[in-house]
């Protein structure tokens, strides 16, 4: 039978003919090229991607020598919280180090936003010190900038998501600018304490979840931290494939942040002092795996070509061509990983 087992972006299984897979690969790369104004994949790259998509094995892997480093976001939320395994955070990190052979790991709190961590920072510092005494792999501390938390009722500032639909545009912009100041202070405070408690690096997860102001606050915080601690390793994990323009007029180093795609985002992160860039490409749940992976690889290839720092592509539920499911299926995950590394030239995942 010539039909190939594959999936849609929502994880539902399907069978497609080889011709349809090839067609979707071409459409996917073209979509990324149009949106990002970047080159589409070459015929040879599409041929290789087609091979990866149609390999008969259930799970595939990279060729020997092409192995890459893995880093994590929501690190200690995965086993104890999402999977519901009753273990504490240090056990989760040791499991990653000693059973899963993870290259690095991330300590994070269930309340995973910098703002919320101020009040419990002393406990987080203690957890980091304890973990550093027991582990060999680099352990990051991570959380989200999450600018939305500074708005009412969670914070002191007017909510721009409510102001914008009322067409109060100037007020919405001012509110975002005000939130940035709070966020920079909180991020620098928490990251400094955690770094001084032995964190090997600081992870900013879901940068841009609240739009361009969220990105600018993180860039500014990174700059301050880098100045304070020249050796600090900062990882930038993005929220989406382009920076959502909730403000629209925010610039970093002369570049407008709204609308930047991964190959442009990485340059901003580099300027601010980041050591690792976590590119995100959204999965479209209605489209096939072939379409999604061709798109993701196209964006990642442009990003790794532009980057001077390592690019660790986000490959979790709903990003990096991984289907939006709770437990992503291994056929899709392993194919996405292989393609992103071998064709996209990702330095890590």
């Amino acid at each position: 039978m010539s039909d190939i087992f594959t999936r849609y972006g929502d994880g539902s299984p399907t069978r497609m003919s080889k011709e349809d897979i090839r067609f979707d690969l071409e459409e996917g790369t073209q979509d990324a090229a149009d949106r990002g104004k970047i080159p589409a994949l070459t015929e040879a790259e599409l041929d290789r991607l087609f091979e990866i998509c149609t390999m008969p094995e259930k799970a595939v892997t990279v060729e020997r020598g092409d192995e890459v480093i893995v880093s994590f976001d929501a690190g200690t939320l995965k086993l104890p919280v999402r999977a519901g395994v009753p273990m504490d955070r240090s056990a989760a990190i040791l499991t990653h180090e000693r059973a899963f052979c993870s290259d690095t790991m991330e300590l994070g709190h269930v309340d995973y936003s910098y703002k919320q961590l101020k009040a419990i920072i002393h406990e987080e510092c203690q957890a980091m010190e304890h973990i550093q005494l027991n582990t060999i792999i680099p352990v990051f501390y991570g959380a989200m900038p999450n600018l939305g938390l500074y708005t009412k009722p969670d914070g002191p500032i007017e909510n721009w998501s409510e102001l914008l639909p009322l067409a109060k545009i100037d007020e919405a912009k001012a509110a975002q600018e005000e939130a940035m100041e709070h966020a920079v202070k909180d991020i620098v405070y928490v990251a400094s304490r955690m770094y001084e408690s032995g964190a090997d690096g600081i992870n900013f997860d879901t940068v841009g979840a609240s739009g361009d102001a969220d990105v600018l606050a993180t860039l500014k915080a990174a700059e301050i931290l880098k100045e304070k601690y020249p050796d600090i390793a900062i990882e930038f994990g993005m929220a989406g494939e382009f920076v959502l323009g909730m403000h629209g007029e925010l610039y970093y180093d002369g570049t407008r942040l709204a609308g930047l795609y991964p190959h442009q985002q990485v340059k901003m992160a580099e300027k601010a002092g980041a050591a690792i860039f976590g590119a995100v490409i959204n999965t479209n749940s209605s489209m096939s795996f072939a379409w999604n992976i061709a798109r993701a690889v196209t964006f990642v290839k442009a990003c790794t070509e532009a980057a001077s720092i390592p690019v660790h592509v986000n490959v979790g539920m709903g990003v990096g061509a991984i289907p939006v499911t709770n437990t992503p299926p291994v056929d899709a995950v392993s194919r996405a990983d292989k393609a992103l590394v071998e064709i996209g030239k990702a330095d890590g995942l």
Binding site: Y8, G9, L164, A167, G211, G245, N282, M317, T325
Partner: protein
């Protein structure tokens, strides 16, 4: 001015967020006796869908999208009056919410802004809204459409719950339903029996108008 020129200019005024020109074009269309429905759907509405699409590509930003939807509203007011020969038309009503357990509301907010430009009266119940509350509100305002947003695979079931509850209570035929959010698909809509699915805000407008038979 020919109808083609009017339509082209209507589109342009939306893309350029030009309030004064939008009002002028709408008034000229009415004065010249062109079909206001056609000017609206092929001109202004086309423009706003294009803006939604550009937003979805990161080429225009939220403040511009909001501005253009404000421009759209003033043009719609003029054309609406002409459609109804001066008497205000009963507006279509839509209740929309992010389902229970889910706090993602950025995308839903954009959908709401665009739907409002079409003269639809939108009741936005916010995020993390229990199914019963959605149904209560829909009954209270006699909604034509109920729209739900879900961004998590774990909360997607909230959209099915709405269908089930409506059916169980004999209310399914009273409303059209529409689902959206990143994990939702046309397949999902078909599976749970929702009347429509839209991938983004621009499509949400087209699908809502189709459900309303416009």
């Amino acid at each position: 001015m020919s109808l083609e020129d009017i339509i082209a200019e209507a589109r342009e005024t939306i893309l350029q967020c030009d309030q004064a020109r939008a009002v002028a074009v709408a008034e000229r269309a009415v004065a010249q006796g062109f079909d206001p429905v056609q000017v609206l759907s092929e001109g202004f509405s086309y423009g706003i869908r294009q803006m939604g699409d550009l937003f979805g590509r990161g080429e225009v930003f939220l403040p511009q999208l909001i501005l253009s939807s404000e421009v759209m509203k003033s043009a719609v007011a003029i054309l609406d009056a002409a459609i109804q020969g001066g008497t205000p038309q009963a507006k279509a009503k839509m209740v929309i919410a992010t389902v229970e357990g889910d706090v993602h509301d950025i995308g839903k907010g954009i959908v709401v802004s665009l739907l409002k430009t079409q003269g639809i009266e939108v009741y936005d119940l916010g995020r993390d809204v229990p199914t019963v509350k959605i149904i209560e509100k829909a009954l209270e305002v006699e909604a034509d459409i109920i729209g739900t947003s879900a961004l998590l695979t774990t909360t997607l079931m909230g959209q099915k719950k709405l269908e089930d509850e409506l059916r169980k209570n004999g209310l399914r035929d009273r409303f059209k339903t529409m689902v959206g959010g990143a994990p939702a698909t046309q397949r999902w809509a078909d599976r749970i029996g929702a009347d429509a699915y839209a991938e983004d805000a621009a499509e949400a407008v087209t699908k809502a108008l189709a459900l309303l038979g416009k």
